[in-house]
């Protein structure tokens, strides 16, 4: 940080200035791409904004799109706080969707207040266990979670494909040749909370999840353990905290949140599962978590931004001449993340300590223990 920031508290820089500046720069970089194709970036962004916000239905759709980002972003962020880089959110999303949808189409005639929680619980348990595999491998063998969660993504895709396409398993025999699971039970569908739109109860659940995860991380013993291990596993171990158990637990909770995104999307929007739900949500969620600087409250604006981009893109593509492809939002997202994450990803992979500039000057020098 330059001298300019000397009097700004470190948390303001971390939590506000870096993300906001990154977003602005991300839009600027993407604007260059628009100019290069001969289109007008101001118009493109105007239509993007219109498509995302300017009538009630567009706004509702933006909120709908932000729901999976919220759950997934929370999951990845929680992993970050425990020193874990969960790249497997996409796979955990599928596993959660599979388990939840299975329950949701298998149950019949129970009240919604029972069916919905049952499906959610099935998804949460499946996501916890599935992500827990990567946690267990890390705790027991030291296998890096970045590698194992990436690999487990493929396993999840293939499990989903196998189950959904195989007769006698989850394939709906009455689907007239369509490759999909049976529709979920009517009582398992998440109710619409804004009539005339697709905005479903999942949005409220996601809003509740934010303070819940914040509380978990910052106010519970579980969250304390998780942060302690994330910062300094050696000192945590010496203090009697089981690093192995904490790793499995953190990975599991992270996966459970990702799985919740999966089932909420199925119960709220899709109502069945096809072999090709390939969402990319899980990977975007890493971006959401990074943009939020792993702070649960930061997930809300970050997820809304991603939801708006996601939602406004097709309107922009329709309205612009010469046409600006909806892929523009990928450029925006990618550049935002490049700006916000470049230091962050490098820090994660190298496991560098995050020292505030000021802290170093008064602490590290004087009388610190010599390195053996």
């Amino acid at each position: 940080m330059s001298r300019l920031w000397a009097h700004v508290p470190a948390w303001v820089i971390n939590a506000l200035i870096i993300p906001v500046v990154s977003v602005v720069l991300g839009f600027l970089v993407a604007a260059i791409a628009v100019v290069a194709t001969g289109a007008d970036p101001t118009l493109a962004y105007l239509y993007l904004f219109q498509g995302a916000f300017t009538n009630t239905n567009a706004f509702a759709e933006t909120l709908v799109s932000s729901v999976p980002y919220m759950f997934l972003g929370l999951g990845v962020a929680l992993g970050f706080r425990a020193g874990l880089f969960n790249i497997g959110a996409e796979g955990q999303f599928y596993i959660g969707a599979l388990a939840g949808v299975f329950v949701a189409y298998s149950v019949h005639g129970l009240p919604a207040i029972v069916e919905v929680p049952l499906a959610l619980l099935a998804a949460i348990a499946a996501g916890f266990l599935y992500a827990g595999i990567a946690g267990f491998l890390k705790a027991q063998t030291g296998a890096h979670e970045v590698i194992t969660t990436i690999m487990l993504n493929y396993v999840a895709f293939l499990i989903a494909n196998y189950l959904v396409t195989t007769p006698g398993l989850m394939l709906d025999p009455h689907a007239h040749g369509l490759i999909r699971t049976p529709y979920i039970d009517a009582n398992a569908v998440l109710p619409i909370i804004f009539p005339g739109s697709r905005l479903h109860l999942g949005f409220l659940l996601a809003l509740l999840a934010i303070p819940a995860v914040w509380f978990l991380i910052n106010r519970t013993t579980v969250g304390f353990r998780l942060r302690a291990v994330g910062y300094n596993a050696g000192a945590s171990k010496a203090a009697g905290i089981s690093v192995a158990r904490t790793t499995v637990l953190a990975m599991g909770i992270s996966g459970a949140l990702a799985a919740t995104a999966g089932i909420v999307q199925m119960l709220g929007i899709q109502h069945d599962m096809t072999a090709a739900v390939a969402s990319g949500y899980g990977f975007d969620a890493i971006a959401v978590a990074l943009l939020a600087r792993s702070n649960p409250w930061g997930i809300l604006p970050a997820a809304l931004l991603f939801g708006a981009l996601h939602n406004g893109a097709s309107f922009m593509q329709l309205q612009t001449t010469p046409q600006v492809s909806s892929d523009l939002i990928s450029i925006v997202q990618a550049s935002v993340i490049a700006f916000v994450a470049a230091p962050e990803i490098i820090r994660w992979l190298l496991r560098l300590r995050r020292h505030q500039v000021a802290a170093v000057a008064i602490t590290q020098r004087e009388g610190a223990a010599p390195h053996a």
């Binding site: 106010r219 013993t221 304390f224 300094n232 203090a239 020292h355 008064i362 004087e366 010599p370």
Partner: protein
């Protein structure tokens, strides 16, 4: 003599803390200027200002008589100011010559680095000041003392005429320290200036031409070795008379609280590091383990704390067999451990002081109900310990990383003693910290002993073992080679035993 460096009214604040509060300092060419002070006195902040690692809020810097502005280390280097940090900034797999020229490479046509030319230049510089550094050796193959000389050489290569040495002897053996002092002498003879940051009084008396003492961000006194002695300096540093030796009553040993029996422990490479150690520590006594580092002390302690599984033998805490129990259960039984490496195992720099103080009890009553942390109880407890253990901090919510080394160590000590344990295993409890903190920690350990604490003290500082221990066990190559009474123990004989002398 000309002034090398003159500082006028340097002010530097970090939030509430005035790290430097109007500091004036004059360093002359051809002199060693010792900058003495407790941890947190502001010595390092001042030097970071001079070296451009941080900028002062107010004040003037004159170098060689001319006002200068230093915004970054590059500015300082360009002026001829060099700094050797306590933690070396070297790249271990590269050679000495490569490390030294890094960033200032001499290139041949077409961009090739002139490795031979660099090695030659480095060798010349090395021999001029008697540094005796093998320029072609890889840094990772060198001892700490030689690595430090590489750092000095690096600064000289970049044209340093004023050299700042930050706690240079903290990592050195006595022999290496002697070598360093010779080098410093050579530098001074050649007309350079050296600022020597330290809190070791004997060294200051030995090497300094001029001494400036800082306390709480201010210069409190300026003197010379001729005009003062160690006790004077300690008093200036701390602000009150300091006991350089621990005063304690004879021990009144009670029941056996910690017992290890025929303990065999292997190290990370599965070599036997502890080869059948038996010892007992009773309530109300301090048993010191004297030994050169790396003779099995770490493995012994880890086997006692449960971080390492003993291959053979047993560990008893309070009379119960804990050999196969977890660290957590041992801590709950009343074992406390001050780890040797506070940054790796003692403290979490990113967490607040309060969280560090309850690192072992965060999930117990009153600090948690079910899984909900009771932050008010934590804060109250922390405030109490901060006061009781004289931890200098802006408050319980300050990050542990914002504290000075001595205060970080006090946080560890406060956590371990604050729970009123039955057994304390203290490893290098005062390593690399200042006189005031050392005195305080020693007093705390003795006071707890008098209240019935059983203490196992592991230290490579023989003086620390001698002054605190009621009994001394000498460890050599994983075995206890002798146990002697603490009172009137013969320093030379113990030194000999530590080195493997067979005079047992």
């Amino acid at each position: 003599m000309e002034n090398a460096l003159e500082l006028r009214g340097i002010v530097k604040t970090y939030g509430e803390l005035r790290a430097n509060d109007g500091v004036d300092l004059v360093v002359k060419w051809g002199q060693v200027h010792a900058l003495l002070g407790e941890n947190g006195a502001g010595k390092s902040t001042l030097m970071n200002v001079v070296y451009g690692l941080t900028s002062a809020d107010a004040g003037e810097i004159l170098f060689d008589g001319k006002p200068v502005t230093i915004h970054a280390p590059q500015d300082a280097i360009a002026l001829g100011i060099g700094m050797v940090h306590q933690h070396f900034m070297l790249i271990p797999p590269l050679t000495v010559a490569e490390n030294i020229i890094l960033g200032h490479e001499i290139t041949k046509p077409r961009g090739w680095i002139d490795v031979e030319g660099a090695a030659k230049a480095v060798s010349e510089l090395s021999s001029r000041y008697g540094l005796d550094v093998p320029s072609r050796a890889r840094v990772q193959e060198l001892s700490v003392g030689v690595q430090q000389r590489v750092e000095i050489l690096k600064a000289l290569y970049r044209g340093a005429r004023l050299l700042i040495l930050d706690e240079p002897t903290a990592v050195l053996t006595p022999q290496e320290t002697k070598g360093l002092f010779e080098i410093v002498g050579n530098l001074i003879q050649a007309g350079n200036a050296v600022i020597f940051i330290t809190h070791k009084l004997a060294e200051v008396i030995e090497i300094a031409d001029q001494i400036t003492v800082m306390r709480r961000g201010k210069v409190v006194d300026s003197t010379t070795p001729k005009e003062s002695n160690q006790a004077d300096l300690a008093r200036m540093m701390v602000g009150r008379p300091v006991l350089l030796r621990v005063e304690k009553q004879p021990a009144k040993p009670g029941d056996v609280r910690l017992k290890v029996e025929d303990l065999v422990v292997t190290d990370d490479r599965r070599q036997v590091a502890v080869g059948g150690v038996s010892l007992e520590v009773r309530a109300g006594e301090i048993v010191g383990i004297a030994g050169v580092e790396g003779n099995g002390q770490n493995e012994l302690v880890e086997a006692i704390s449960g971080l390492r599984t003993a291959k053979e033998g047993r560990v008893f805490i309070g009379g119960r067999d804990f050999t196969r129990r977890s660290t957590r259960l041992r801590l709950r039984e009343g074992l406390s451990v001050i780890p040797a490496d506070r940054h790796k195992e003692g403290i979490i720099l990113e967490l607040p002081i309060a969280d560090n103080l309850v690192l072992e009890d965060y999930d117990r009553n009153p600090f948690a109900r079910w899984i909900v942390r009771q932050l008010k109880a934590v804060a109250e407890y922390a405030a109490r310990l901060i006061k009781q253990f004289d931890i200098r901090a802006s408050g319980p919510t300050a990050a542990a990383g914002s504290l000075s080394g001595g205060n970080q160590q006090k946080v560890v000590v406060a956590r371990e003693l604050g729970t009123e344990p039955m057994v304390l295993v203290a490893c290098q409890p005062t390593r690399g910290i200042d006189v005031g903190s050392i005195e305080f920690i020693h007093q705390q350990i003795v006071a707890q002993r008098d209240k019935g604490l059983a203490v196992l003290l592991v230290s490579s500082e023989l003086d620390e073992v001698l002054s605190l221990s009621d009994r001394i066990a000498v460890i050599y190559r994983g075995r206890i080679v002798a146990v002697v009474d603490g009172a009137g123990a013969d320093r030379d004989r113990i030194g000999l035993l530590m080195a493997g002398g067979a005079a047992a």
